[in-house]
């Protein structure tokens, strides 16, 4: 039977993720060292797991309210105000979702009408543009460049704005580049947002992972930006809780209400035990000044330096990332495209990295390497990449 005529043409028109194709290739090589992961190598700290275990032992196996456990929303509110100086009311301005991914999907569906344009910095996380298309919008890539440390420049952004522009996605600290936006960078963007009456989806999932005295600035904390921003965050990266699937969206009551409408019909609620573990993560963090986050951040930071230095030693251009857990070196010196480089590296040296073009056209000529991997493995992988680069230069 030919199902093409039955399938939703808007969805069918979106090509499958470029990462997916590479995943199949990489998964076939069992001995490969992977720098292609996108999650912490720490297990969820045991006290958070223990909270979820206790909840199961106590038979807490029911739905939670649509918006999530009120204790969790209260903790999220305290966390965001204490850590990033943004205030959200737990009852009406916070929605707990199945990972930040669901929050992104919800906000796009809640805000986009057919034909609306959504500005997406490029390169960026792979889901934004498809999510925009699924919601009926038109993604408009806004190029970011290595010479600007992959920060979104207000001038470049402004050039892409049309009368159809409605939304800007701000994904900083950035996956795949590791770029962060300082206060001045964000203020320049805020000026454009104000001038063109845009709304902003600020995906701050890597907010805890910034290094070298850089401070994460929440976009909603800038003057007049609270009312224009939906802040998205979650527990996966900062608290090493990827598999639990707990994230959240915060913003003006009217927008959160519409997101909740979709969420309550499509999802009901995020899994209860994930919410319990997340509540424990924030409560304990508040009590011990986020000790487990600090330990993980310091460990990532050491490996970040190791990896950046190694790429510099290989003679590859590699901007120093100050956030997330990725480095994004340029491999143009080898004359290969990102995909050629990654395929050959995998086949010849058993090291998996992700081609930069999987994250958008501006990622071409780069590869994404994740340093959330054991130091000994990083060292072996880097030696192999060095040998590969010198053989192909």
């Amino acid at each position: 039977m030919n199902y093409d005529q039955y399938l939703n043409s808007r969805i069918s028109a979106v090509p499958p993720s470029g990462i997916r194709r590479f995943f199949d290739l990489a998964a076939s090589r069992k001995e490969a060292i992977s720098l292609g992961v996108g999650e912490p190598d720490f297990k969820t700290p045991y006290p958070f797991r223990d909270a979820a275990i206790n909840s199961l032992v106590d038979g807490e196996t029911q739905y939670t309210g649509n918006r999530g456990l009120i204790e969790l929303r209260q903790e999220i509110s305290l966390y965001l105000s204490g850590r990033y100086q943004i205030n959200y009311r737990p009852e009406t301005e916070i929605l707990v979702t199945i990972g930040a991914s669901e929050a992104i999907d919800l906000v796009l569906r809640a805000l986009i009408s057919d034909g609306d344009e959504v500005l997406v910095p490029d390169p960026s996380y792979v889901s934004y543009a498809p999510g925009v298309i699924f919601a009926g919008g038109v993604p408009v890539p806004v190029e970011t460049r290595q010479e600007d440390d992959f920060r979104l420049k207000a001038e470049t952004l402004e050039k892409k704005i049309t009368e159809k522009s409605k939304l800007l996605i701000l994904p900083y600290p950035n996956n795949p580049t590791g770029a962060v936006m300082g206060k001045e960078d964000l203020e320049a963007v805020a000026e454009v947002v104000r001038r063109h009456d845009l709304l902003v989806i600020s995906d701050e999932i890597y907010s805890e992972l910034v290094y070298d005295n850089h401070m994460h600035v929440a976009f909603a904390s800038l003057p007049d930006m609270w009312e224009r921003t939906i802040t998205i965050n979650g527990f996966s990266k900062s608290f090493a809780m990827t598999g639990w699937r707990v994230g959240y969206a915060c913003g003006p009551e009217e927008i959160i209400a519409v997101m909740n409408k979709i969420h309550q019909y499509a999802i009901m609620c995020a899994p209860r035990q994930g919410q319990v573990a997340a509540t424990a993560a924030l409560r304990l963090g508040r009590e011990n000044n986020y000790e487990s986050v600090t330990v993980m951040r310091e460990s990532y930071d050491r490996r970040r330096r190791l990896m950046v230095t190694a790429f510099h030693d290989m003679g590859l251009e590699c901007f120093v990332p100050y956030g997330a857990f990725y480095v994004f070196p340029s491999i143009t010196r080898t004359g290969m495209s990102s995909e050629e480089f990654c395929s050959a590296l995998l086949q010849e040296k058993d090291v998996a990295a992700v081609p930069g073009n999987a994250f958008g056209a501006s990622g071409e000529g780069h590869i994404r390497c994740c340093y959330a991997t054991a130091v000994d493995k990083i060292n072996i992988a880097l030696e192999r990449i060095a040998a590969f680069v010198s053989a192909h230069s």
């Binding site: 993720s17 990462i19 590479f22 995943f23 990489a26 998964a27 490969a32 992977s34 292609g36 992961v37 996108g38 999650e39 190598d41 996380y125 792979v126 889901s127 996956n175 070298d212 310091e298 460990s299 050491r302 490996r303 330096r305 190791l306 230095t309 998996a352 992700v354 999987a358 130091v375 000994d376 060292n379």
Partner: protein, 163 residues
């Protein structure tokens, strides 16, 4: 302790074979600073030695371990230190701790055979004049030591590639 020293201890407790050059990169300092900091940690006896964590149960070496609770009479002017010193000098003794609670010293002993261990208790430890009593418990299995889980499955369960 400086921030650099704290970072170096974090690195070394995971793997003490990492070259100084790599440690300098990881901490964002110079080779000389790292060398000086480690030298200082060693001189101040904060780092005592660099030894591997061995799971002897996976070797064919015969080995028994016991924890012995020892009650002693403290000595005038010396307290427990003198008797602790008498005990820790025996080669069989791996660790000695002064404890609060129902006994005074906890002594960790290792020997090749049960017979040797019994001989240590009856012939060396118990006869010490200030020792008033001992209770020996044998170690049956080691699950975790110094933060390392012995029987853990360390496999990386993450997806090879994820967005």
């Amino acid at each position: 302790m400086t921030k650099l020293e704290a970072s170096l201890l974090d690195i070394l407790k995971e793997d003490c074979r990492i070259p100084l050059e790599k440690m300098a990169v990881m901490t964002g300092t110079s080779l000389e600073e790292v060398a000086a900091a480690i030298d200082s940690l060693e001189k101040r006896k904060i780092i005592l030695r660099y030894s591997p964590m061995i799971n002897w149960d996976r070797t064919d070496r015969e080995r028994v371990e016991a924890m012995i609770e020892v009650r002693v009479t403290p000595q005038r002017d010396m307290g427990f230190d003198a008797i602790a010193r008498r005990i820790y000098r025996f080669d069989e003794v791996k660790s000695v701790y002064l404890m609060s609670g129902s006994y005074d010293l906890l002594v960790l002993v290792e020997a090749r055979t049960l017979k040797e261990l019994a001989a240590f208790v009856s012939a060396k430890l118990s006869p010490l004049e200030t020792v008033t009593g001992t209770a020996t418990s044998f170690v049956l299995k080691r699950y975790k030591e110094e933060g390392v889980i012995f029987e853990s499955d360390d496999a990386d369960h993450r997806l090879v590639i994820s967005p």
